[in-house]
């Protein structure tokens, strides 16, 4: 069986040469005089454009005591400005057949519209306006504060898995703001006021702290001209400080927690390790961890699935997670959902044993070749979604990476060896830099 697979892998390796498909050829970038970066991704298959502005500021850039203010401000940007009525931007987008929204993460806040390509200028006029012209008073924010609290209710308070995640993150990060939820701690959200929101707005919403991403049926020179007209005239914020946030000290003690909630139907064990992220010019460790997560948890043929679901049959689900897109330290996660007759302690032990065995025995080169080939194919598949491409460029550029880093990534992935993976994994899977959480149904422990 193994010989056969190696044979097949060799055949595929020759086929894959014809897959060389360069996304770089479709990407143009430039910087406006006021410091605003612009990236244009061309896709002329349909007369559609995605227009996004990414601010290099997220919840991890908030001051202590006002958690949730980055996300609160994101909501308030749909209120009135000096030239737009409250809700007018979304209304105009909808009237033009488009859709719009915004999202806040730890490291960025982004606003986007997806609309017919010939409406790009209108989008830029409105988006540039709200970058600096927000015009709200104390009365405007009260209703919206209720909305974000309902949002927290909906996304977090009613979902034990989300409450559990908040507690695990808080325990993982000893000093960094990644330990504070993006939506905010409820008691701080309830006291957010206008001045908190405006202070954040004045500090971070400026062209020299933003990236414009335009993707779709557009001509880069036309985008340059429009961007200059609408964004180019906004003065930069001269007081913008370098993005240096409190960093993690050495982690010297494993953390364990048990979270109980009567609404839990399926108990599980989750382990997170502090892990390095993709850094400019230095992405090899992140690439190794990206592949390691696939080796362990990437679908039916992954090691965890094979050992724990097929062979030992102790789990109904297993997984491994890692995302290198992060300005500061990221995390590497493992999860096991045991079968009903298996305890969480047994599940955790079984999980640890499989990971130890892999670190000991090394990575199967055939499996790694298969994973790499799928990464190569995904470079083709992902070009089917203009919006997805725009998102991945915006997120990477707002997480400290450059275009060169983004374009180097596929080759770095292909260059990682089994030894690279094992070496990085041994470094990162340090129990002293980890949190192990048990999620349990309340009644199980009350008996």
């Amino acid at each position: 069986m193994r010989l056969l697979m190696i044979g097949l892998a060799a055949v595929l390796a020759t086929v894959s040469v014809s897959l060389a498909f360069e996304i770089e050829d479709r990407v143009t970038s430039f910087t406006l005089e006021n410091g605003m970066d612009v990236v244009v991704i061309e896709d002329h298959r349909a007369p559609v454009v995605v227009h996004m502005v990414w601010y290099k500021a997220g919840s991890a850039d908030e001051q202590p005591g006002v958690s949730g203010v980055a996300h609160f401000l994101e909501h308030l940007l749909f209120k009135q400005t000096k030239t737009l009525e409250a809700g007018e931007l979304s209304r105009v987008v909808a009237e033009n057949g488009g859709s719009d929204n915004a999202f806040t993460s730890y490291d960025y806040t982004a606003y986007y519209q997806r609309v017919a390509a010939d409406r790009l200028e209108l989008m830029m006029r409105m988006e540039a306006d709200r970058m600096v012209n927000l015009d709200i008073g104390p009365d405007d924010i009260l209703t919206e504060r209720d909305v974000i609290i309902e949002e927290r209710n909906q996304r977090v308070e009613t979902d034990p898995g989300s409450l559990f995640r908040e507690q695990r993150n808080a325990a993982l990060y000893l000093n960094h703001r990644y330990g504070v939820p993006i939506i905010g701690w409820r008691h701080e959200m309830e006291n957010l006021d206008l001045e908190d929101a405006l202070a954040y707005y004045r500090t971070y919403y400026a062209p020299n702290n933003a990236t414009l991403v335009v993707a779709g049926d557009v001509d880069p020179s036309q985008v340059r001209q429009l961007a200059q007209t609408y964004y180019g005239v906004i003065p930069p914020n001269p007081d913008l400080q370098p993005r240096e946030r409190p960093q993690e000290p050495p982690h010297t003690s494993p953390r364990r927690m048990t979270f109980k909630d009567p609404r839990v139907s399926q108990p599980y064990v989750m382990r997170s390790y502090l892990a390095p992220e993709r850094d400019p010019g230095d992405q090899r460790k992140a690439a190794a961890l990206t592949l390691f997560a696939e080796v362990l948890g990437g679908g039916q043929t992954s090691v965890l699935t094979q050992k724990l679901q097929f062979e030992k049959q102790v789990a109904v689900y297993t997984g491994a997670f890692y995302s290198g897109l992060s300005l500061d330290d990221s995390s590497f996660g493992l999860v096991i959902v045991p079968r009903p007759d298996v305890s969480l302690e047994e599940a955790e032990q079984a999980l640890d044993q499989v990971v130890l065995d892999v670190l000991d025995a090394g990575i199967d080169p055939v499996q790694l070749a298969r994973i790499k080939r799928q990464f190569k194919a995904s470079d083709i598949y992902r070009m089917d979604s203009t919006e997805g491409l725009a998102n991945s460029y915006g997120a990477a550029l707002s997480s400290g990476l450059t275009l060169e880093d983004i374009h180097a990534w596929p080759d770095i992935i292909q260059s990682i060896t089994p030894e690279d993976i094992i070496q990085t994994a041994k470094e990162v899977l340090d129990i002293n830099a980890s949190v192990t959480g048990y999620l349990l149904a309340q009644e199980e422990t009350d008996q």
Binding site: L8, F310, D384
Partner: protein
């Protein structure tokens, strides 16, 4: 899986043309299976979507859950390959396959590189014509479904959806989850799964859409190869129209959480009704599609009562409802329900403005070209159209049908369709009422 997904999923079934023409070629396999093809050679891959009419609603009710379990097992071993072998081969090809069960249809979707199209189709074919249903695979996937059934029993949104469906649809298949119950799926045997496979995936129920780097000739031979060995006809009759039990008023399901989930609605309108497009526009004004609608304005923008509210014309194959959903803190549920009632009554009594109708129409007609922007998305849309019984030409006239709707039409249909007194609310939480 949840009603919510279903509600919002439905709105994607309607679009029209706005200057962006895609060319749909209509072809047939040697067995007469309809194939809709859009050739696009920009990217070196193909998206394929096979829809099977029928879905989980046509299975025998005492075997509830058998179709869903059967679909989940197709990629767990086929022909000479066991589950791991099948997955390994698929990964070698860098293809992705999806097998989904819905109440009114089943779907098999695939994405594969032009380079190895033939090998990918051969592998996919194995899973459709020669699934193994190995006993160990059955037990493994059954355990996964059992997990999802148990979580459904504790999940607030699922409790809301199934309280709603159960009371309205009763014994009709729409009234119960297609996952089945722990009892029904616990009793399923390999023979049951084989029978379901034979009855649910048949040529007479199949329709295909293909989008991407492939020619018409290749498309036909690819479908011949893929589906040529399926049984000709299904032994399962299609279900009947649902008898609805719609008791007006508020039904509370106790659930210990700070925020209640509320579903509401009443009888809807058939897609073939002359007023359907007017109702479609009405729904956008009432609570569909985007931020600017009456319910969103009254509940969220003016009062901060919810993060989001949406309504939908749930015109399904065997029942028609108009339904909505939102969540709000327990102590604000009574107020929010009153707001919904006021909006409902006001729009039925006083109608809509010409301005609202114009905005809704520009939104609906302008949104059309935005939907056709990827091979996978287009294939999904085309199969959806086929399952609905639409002709390919529908895309050319759909916007005309929307544009022909007048404010008088919308106000008339609001009067006819919306009845505040008939509204049924299901509240899952611990509301102060």
């Amino acid at each position: 899986m949840t009603l919510v997904k279903f509600l919002f999923g439905l709105t994607t079934l309607f679009w029209g043309v706005a200057g962006h023409a895609i060319e749909i070629q209509t072809l047939q396999s040697k067995d007469g299976i309809p194939i809709w093809l859009v050739e696009d050679h920009t990217l070196p891959f193909v998206a394929l979507e096979v829809g099977f009419d029928g879905g989980t609603s046509s299975e025998p009710q005492e075997k509830r859950g058998v179709t869903n379990l059967m679909m989940g097992l197709l990629e767990e071993g086929a022909g000479d390959l066991d589950a791991q072998g099948f997955a390994t081969t698929r990964e070698e090809l860098a293809a992705s396959f999806g097998y989904s069960a819905y109440s009114d249809s089943l779907s098999v979707s695939a994405r594969f590189l032009t380079d190895n199209a033939a090998s990918s189709i051969d592998l996919l074919r194995q899973s459709l014509v020669a699934p193994r249903f190995d006993q160990d695979a059955i037990e493994r996937v059954r355990a996964q479904v059992e997990t999802s059934i148990r979580s459904r029993e504790k999940d607030q949104n699922d409790i809301a959806a199934w309280s709603w469906n159960g009371t309205i649809f009763g014994k009709h298949p729409y009234g119960t989850s297609q996952d089945g119950t722990l009892e029904t799926i616990g009793a399923l045997t390999q023979a049951d799964l084989k029978a379901a496979h034979k009855a649910a995936l048949t040529k007479d129920r199949a329709m295909v859409s293909i989008v991407g780097d492939v020619t018409a000739q290749q498309a036909v031979s690819l479908v011949d190869r893929l589906l040529g060995d399926l049984p000709d006809a299904s032994a399962w009759p299609l279900p009947n129209l649902a008898d609805l039990t719609l008791d007006a008023g508020v039904q509370v399901v106790d659930y210990p959480t700070p925020q209640s989930v509320i579903l509401f609605g009443h009888k809807g309108i058939d897609e073939k009704d002359d007023d359907f497009f007017a109702a479609f526009v009405l729904n956008v004004i009432l609570g569909g599609g985007n931020f600017e609608n009456r319910l969103m304005t009254e509940l969220r923008e003016k009062r901060g009562l919810t993060y989001g509210v949406g309504t939908s014309l749930a015109s399904r194959k065997y029942s028609d409802l108009i339904v909505g959903r939102f969540a709000t803190a327990n102590d604000r549920v009574a107020q929010a329900i009153e707001v919904v009632r006021d909006v409902w009554r006001d729009i039925a009594e006083n109608g809509v403005t010409a301005d609202e109708v114009n905005r809704a129409k520009t939104y609906l007609t302008g949104a059309y070209p935005l939907r056709f922007d990827g091979n996978g998305r287009i294939a999904g849309i085309l199969t959806g159209m086929q399952l609905q019984g639409r002709a390919p030409e529908y895309v050319d006239i759909r916007n005309d049908l929307v544009n022909a709707v007048t404010p008088q039409d919308v106000s008339r249909v609001a009067r006819r369709l919306l009845s505040e007194g008939a509204l049924k609310f299901v509240v899952v939480g611990q509301p102060d009422l």
